[in-house]
């Protein structure tokens, strides 16, 4: 904004001065971006420093396993991979049911490094993929925001995104999950869309489709893009902002994007058949109609045009009605109305808890609470409204897109806590705009009113403002430098044009802003407050990265008076399974531990975190909530050799299987009606103390969790439930304990062989036939 003033310094040296300043600004912003990348990368390394370089949690283990397979067997084997070590006996076609973006990315990085003879292990590459892509994501944010509101806002937004806790929670080193690359893909797709919208270049439109393709490869959240962009196009059309640039930005994306999306096996024909994509096609039709109308309007005289409009509208309405009727009929004929469960629960937040317990049982599918907003986006929550206002001054195509993005993502994040992740970039962009605009206003006011500066208004203007502040001011400063860069005729014609386009918004805005000058004291104080706010944000983010989100969740630590205590029970159990059971043994556990068991223990599991078959999960849930004998039969019919339960009662680990038991009963009961939830409830509550129902005290999960637990302290005091257990002394008849970890967090039981059940040889034939024929028919859902 200071560009005009700055260049008035000396007329003859104007051009050289400009070139220098331009180069300086370019280099400066390049280094700032580099530092932002380093910041984004290094703030996510707390988990490696505090714990170790290890894959985190549940889903990352699956992705890690897939990546290992990919690097070992190559891409073609990967597409054809039928995994028989999970969902036994059904198996799973991994190649066709997985979003391959993340895996292929990490696989490519690994391959590249290895072909350069840098022998990093697959695990190392997987661990650091997320931080690397966070750096990319913050650069993409810079580009996007720069398209919307100029480089200053871009840099601010990039800094904010580099350390927004919500994104950190999903992308710390080791958190090798789809979201890690998907957020980058999301922002980059939006950037290319805006870029195309601003330039009207078909080149960017094509790139946009490819970025969209990458997003489709990476995450199911791509439906957000393919609904948001049509919404924005519609908004532009409705507000009379239709232009050929809009058409170029949209039409190729739909055609190319859909074609490319259909190439991803997991999407396939869904790209044209499910309701999630219908909006884009509808808008595709609309934009063509509008384009036609504009074209005809150009040809015809106003009067003729009016006649034509009435004619076309009447015919068009009829056709539209017919088409919509057909569509509705088609959609209505499919059972879920063409919408997948997760998407439906997005539109109707109560849908999942009502109909699909398996979706509702995942904590990240719950609606967030207010504190979680503060935790995850912190001060951005307060800056967002200011940013939205800044987007309206003036409203351009690009800034209207940002407004639409933030509004929709706020809605979605309110539905599902996991989608807070989509909100985070939007919040960063709007807050970046707000902050940089505020800094603009305040520094300009100061500049106008500072006695020494206002008369001279020289190059120092940039320096004086930058001297007062630190990080953000750097952004402002480079913004100025960036501004100047546009005033020079550059060699690269393309770059020229691109830079040219973004100027109007910033410049006119600047001119309007120039009229408002705030009092000196007020601006200084506000600046200080803003810096303070930024500092608070930084402190919070570092805290969140270091404390809240760095735990890998397979290793737990606790600080007690005698130092750090490590709970490495999960890996202890998995290592035991890996080395001391037969390779083809089947291990049954609740689905949460499926991915970890296949990846770390390399044993076949019955169900895992890819909850594609509700019946199968319900079978395991039923077994867990059945009495021992019935459970044994179910497990035996599934060829299960070992049962793994997670038990936190001894050390107070709250997310154990007893706490998840509610969902096992509910999911099991949803498919097998003989499991009735009320049987497990006393006065509407799950309890395991002496008030618990007999069904509860006799179910397998209770028995496996508390087997011989009473002997530890003589009372059987459960530290999670904070109560003494109901049934203290009991024996297992059909299962035997084969392994329990050091802190009792994982207990593994083996199914006793069949012959042990039968007492007395004379009864053998009778009891066997009776239990087989009558008993199993009722209780065993597998026969």
């Amino acid at each position: 904004m200071s560009a005009p003033e700055a260049s008035s310094a000396a007329v003859p040296t104007l051009t050289t001065n400009n070139t220098l300043r331009n180069a300086f600004g370019g280099v400066l912003s390049f280094f700032i971006l580099l530092l932002i990348g380093v910041l984004a990368f290094s703030i996510r390394l707390f988990s490696v420093i505090k714990y170790e370089s290890v894959i985190h949690e549940f889903d990352p283990y699956f992705n890690y396993r897939v990546t290992q397979f990919l690097t070992k067997n190559g891409i073609y084997e990967f597409w054809n991979w039928f995994d028989d070590r999970t969902w036994y006996p059904l198996g799973r076609v991994i190649g066709g049911t997985v979003y391959p973006g993340l895996t292929l990315t990490a696989g490519t990085i690994w391959w590249l490094l290895n072909s350069l003879n840098i022998p990093l292990s697959v695990e190392t590459v997987c661990v650091f993929t997320a931080p690397i892509f966070s750096a990319f994501a913050s650069w993409a944010t810079y580009l996007l925001t720069k398209e919307v509101k100029g480089a200053g806002a871009g840099l601010t937004a990039a800094v904010l995104l580099a350390m927004v806790p919500s994104y950190i929670s999903r992308s710390v080193a080791g958190s090798y999950d789809n979201e890690a690359v998907a957020i980058f893909a999301l922002i980059f797709t939006f950037y290319l869309y805006i870029k195309t919208l601003n330039t009207g270049s078909l080149f960017y439109a094509t790139l946009n489709s490819i970025a969209y393709f990458y997003m489709v490869c990476s995450w199911g959240g791509y439906t957000f893009i393919i609904n948001l962009i049509p919404m924005h196009v519609l908004l532009c059309i409705v507000t009379g902002r239709y232009s050929s640039r809009l058409y170029i930005a949209y039409a190729p994306l739909v055609v190319l994007g859909t074609l490319l999306a259909a190439l991803v096996p997991v999407v396939g024909f869904n790209a044209v058949m499910t309701s999630e994509h219908f909006a884009s096609f509808l808008v595709f039709i609309i934009i063509h109609v509008v384009a036609l109308v504009y074209y005809i309007k150009g040809i015809l005289s106003p009067k003729m045009f009016k006649v034509a409009v009435t004619l076309v509208v009447s015919v068009g309405l009829a056709v539209c009605c017919a088409v919509i009727a057909v569509l509705i009929a088609l959609v209505a004929s499919s059972p879920t109305k063409g919408w997948s469960g997760r998407s439906l629960s997005l539109l109707d937040p109560t849908y999942a808890s009502k109909y699909i317990p398996i979706i509702a049982s995942v904590s990240e599918h719950q609606p967030p609470t207010w504190p979680s907003y503060f935790m995850d986006i912190n001060v951005l929550a307060f800056l967002v409204p200011a940013g939205i206002i800044a987007c309206f001054l003036p409203l351009s195509d690009a800034s209207s897109f940002v407004v639409l993005y933030i509004v929709t993502s706020v809605y979605f994040s309110g539905v599902m806590v996991r989608l807070m992740l989509v909100l985070a970039p939007a919040a960063c962009i709007t807050s970046g705009i707000a902050l940089s605009q505020a800094f603009d206003v305040f520094t300009r006011s100061i500049k106008f009113q500072l006695p020494g500066v206002s008369s001279k208004t020289e190059v120092d203007a940039g320096e004086t403002s930058s001297a007062t502040k630190e990080a953000q001011n750097d952004a402002v400063k480079t913004e100025k430098a960036e501004e100047t860069s546009k005033d020079r005729p550059s060699r690269k014609s393309k770059k020229k044009e691109r830079e040219h386009v973004e100027k109007p918004s910033t410049k006119t805005k600047a001119e309007k802003k120039r009229l408002l000058a705030l009092p000196l004291e007020a601006s200084v104080i506000s600046l200080l407050l803003l810096v303070f706010l930024g500092a608070f944000y930084v402190v919070h983010c570092v805290w969140a990265a270091a404390e809240a989100y760095s735990a890998p969740s397979i290793v737990l630590t606790s600080h007690s008076h005698d130092g750090l205590h490590v709970f490495d029970d999960f890996r202890e159990a998995y290592a035991w399974l890996r080395h001391n059971t037969d390779v083809d043994d089947k291990v049954a556990s609740w689905w949460d531990y499926g991915y970890q068991t296949t990846a770390m223990a390399n044993r076949t599991v019955i169900v895992d975190n890819n909850t594609w078959n509700n019946t199968h999960i319900a079978t395991v849930g039923t077994a867990m909530s059945s009495p021992e004998k019935a459970a044994w039969e179910i497990f035996h019919s599934l060829d299960v050799k070992y049962v793994l339960v997670v038990f936190g009662g001894l050390v107070g680990y709250p997310s154990d299987d007893i706490n998840k038991f509610l969902w096992m009963v509910r999911i099991g009961g949803g498919v097998f009606p003989h499991i009735k939830e009320p049987d497990y409830l006393r006065d509407g509550q799950y309890r395991i103390d002496s008030q618990a129902t007999p069904t509860m005290l006799n179910c397998l999960m209770y028995k496996l969790s508390y087997y011989r637990f009473v002997e530890t302290d003589g009372k059987g005091f459960d530290r999670v439930r904070r109560t003494e257990i109901g049934k203290k002394y009991f024996k297992l008849t059909h299962f035997e304990e084969v392994f329990t970890t050091h802190h009792w967090m994982v207990r593994i039981y083996k199914l006793k062989p069949q012959k042990n059940r039968i007492r007395g040889k004379t009864k053998k034939s009778k009891s066997k036939t009776s239990s087989k024929s009558s008993g199993t028919r009722k209780k065993n859902p597998w026969l």
């Binding site: 260049s7 003879n117 005033d487 005729p489 290592a575 035997e736 304990e737 084969v738």
Partner: protein
């Protein structure tokens, strides 16, 4: 059972092939068998006497075939009395021998004596034989609460192709709990030690099987496979990485494992399990890590002083009989402690086997990775090993680093001796990789610079290219125009600001000065504008936007005049000390026009921007 039957067989053979091959006589044999760990060590001291006329320089040692299979290590040393340290004794060369007319079920080793024995001469030497897997657990499967019992079988008589005059045997057990043992004549038991003998004047190939069944809760840690990778870096580090595949080689565990029992009474319920291993690493070992394929294992302790580094590692879970685990231990060592120079060659002098205490290794593979560019590689090992070479491609290598691979089966701690790898290496090759990196980045930057400075359009004379260039120039000019206009606008703003100052301070002079300055600046700017406008006039591709630009310039000029007029009116008003409201009234109309004009100028600017 099998062994005793075999013993009978030997007896029969012995009777058949009774004539001894030479006239040597073992005048005294003392054997001590140590069963205190899973590794069986038999140390015997033999006194040979030549009873025949010929010179004899070799003594044969006989081992039954089954024992020979388990024999891991055999060493003969000259007996030098008890006062001296064992290590100083010179080792006598031992070789596999297959003398004629000997029973095929026996394996023979011949010990070469330092000098031939003439008739009547005698010589005393010690033989240390180390066996692996010689203790057989019986029962083979035990529960968690059981203690582990093992069986050891030997002969009470020293099996030898020579006549033995006097002999005795003592067996040292880990504990005084003995389940059973074979009682022969002259059998005594002292606490944890069983003594057989002395027996006198036994013929060659005498054999009398004895069986000891006793409790042993020593760790039966067996590494089924150990791969040791020793990587030499001339930048100052020797990196040792050891991949263990460990199994508890004792009685197999059966039934359930109760953590409760194990935690409450670890010595009773879980006596046969071992929980940790101790490794004696070389001094100054650093960067020690202990992990497995699923991550770091946090249960380890490290102590170190100037003489040794002791590492205690616990596997993830207590090792019961038959349980397996796998892990990796790695550490770095300072190069100068292990690498020496000799006659233009370098040699690495490092221990062969694992640093773990009392560990049996079934298959040991030692890989020595030498720096890229090493040549003339040779290995000198103190015992026979299988060896071959391969290449390993590591960080930024081009043709890989030479790797010497040594393989040996049945390794016991006695094998932990130094071995040497000789090679030639040019110090300059060390700089290869840094130089490669430097030049790589250098060329990257050069390429960037070239790309930024070179115009790589395909055609430079085509019409579209020229038009584009022209259009670029026009755009540049228009931008400059815009620049100037916006600078004018800024000057206007400053004038407005000065008016505000005036209303605050009433300083008419400053305000006038500001106007003068602004006036000068504006004139300069309009001068600057002229060449640009003429350029635009002359350029054909600017034809479309020229009218707009001209309109813009005109409007701006009008605006300028209006602003000046307003300014002077206000200043006049102040000079005449008219009231603020009065001035405002006078200016109001001008102000309206100004804002309208300003709006138009802004619109025009925006329009031109949009092109």
């Amino acid at each position: 059972m099998e062994i005793s039957r075999f013993g009978l067989l030997v007896f029969t053979i012995a009777i058949l092939a009774s004539p001894a091959i030479s006239d040597l006589v073992l005048s005294k044999v003392d054997r001590r068998i140590y069963l205190t760990s899973q590794i069986v060590r038999i140390s015997s001291s033999l006194k040979v006497e030549n009873g025949g006329p010929e010179m004899v320089s070799e003594v044969l040692l006989a081992f039954p075939e089954l024992q020979a299979k388990k024999l891991a290590y055999l060493m003969a040393t000259q007996h030098e009395g008890k006062g001296k340290a064992k290590n100083s004794a010179a080792a006598l060369p031992v070789e596999v021998a297959s003398p004629k007319d000997m029973p095929p079920a026996l394996t023979f080793y011949s010990v070469s004596l330092p000098k031939g024995l003439a008739e009547g001469d005698s010589f005393t030497f010690d033989v240390l034989a180390v066996y692996t897997h010689a203790l057989q657990p019986i029962p083979e499967q035990i529960t968690q609460a059981d203690i582990q019992l093992v069986v050891y079988q030997e002969s009470a008589y020293y099996l030898s192709p020579y006549v033995v005059k006097v002999q005795s045997l003592s067996i040292k057990l880990p504990d005084s709990r003995i389940e059973s043992y074979t009682k022969l004549e002259n059998t005594k038991i002292h606490g944890s030690e069983i003594k057989y003998g002395p027996y006198e004047n036994l013929p060659a190939f005498s054999y009398s099987p004895i069986v000891v069944h006793f409790e042993s809760n020593e760790p039966f840690a067996v590494a089924q496979e150990l791969v040791r990778e020793i990587e030499v870096s001339h930048w100052g580090n020797v990196q040792v990485t050891e991949h263990y595949k460990l199994v508890h080689g004792g009685a197999r565990s059966k039934g359930e494992f109760s953590r409760l029992d194990f935690q409450a009474r670890p010595n009773l319920r879980g006596a046969s399990a071992f929980r940790y291993l101790v490794a004696n690493l070389p001094p100054r070992a650093h960067s020690v890590y202990y992990r497995d394929e699923i991550g770091n294992i946090s249960t380890s302790h490290l102590w170190g002083d100037s003489k040794k580094t002791e590492l205690l590692i616990e596997p993830r879970y207590p090792m019961f009989g038959g349980w397996k685990t796998a892990f990796t231990v790695g550490y770095g060592l300072p190069l100068q402690d292990f690498l020496y120079k000799l006659e233009g060659k370098r040699f690495l002098n490092i221990t062969f086997s694992s640093p773990m205490v009392e560990l049996i290794i079934d298959t040991l593979i030692v890989k020595v990775v030498l720096p890229e560019g090493s040549s003339d590689i040779s290995v000198s090992a103190p015992f026979p090993v299988k060896q071959w070479q391969e290449a390993k491609i590591s960080h930024l290598d081009i043709d890989g680093r030479p790797v010497v691979v040594l393989e040996k089966t049945n390794v016991v701690p006695e094998h932990n001796q130094y071995f040497q790898v000789y090679y030639k290496f040019n110090k300059l090759s060390m700089l290869r990789e840094p130089l490669m990196l430097i030049s790589g980045f250098f060329f990257l930057f050069v390429a960037c610079i070239v790309y930024m400075h070179a115009d790589i359009s395909i055609s430079k004379s085509s019409a579209s290219y020229l038009a584009k260039q022209q259009w670029e120039e026009v755009q540049g000019a228009i931008q400059q125009v815009q620049n100037i206009i916006s600078r004018c606008l800024t000057t206007h703003d400053k004038l407005e600001a000065s008016l505000r100052d005036l209303s605050r301070t009433g300083d008419v002079q400053a305000c006038k000065a500001a106007r003068k300055a602004a006036d000068g600046l504006l004139k300069e700017l309009s001068k600057e504008l002229k060449p640009l406008l003429t350029f635009l006039h002359s350029s054909p591709s600017a034809a479309q936007i020229l009218p707009k630009v001209e309109e813009l310039v005109a409007k701006e000029r009008e605006l300028q005049e209006k602003v000046m007029a307003k300014h002077s009116t206000v200043v006049d008003g102040y000079e005449k000390k008219s009231g603020a409201r009065d001035i405002e009234n006078r200016v109001a109309l001008q102000q309206q026009k100004l804002t309208a004009l300003r709006q138009e100028v802004d619109d025009l600017l925006e329009f031109i921007d949009d092109i």
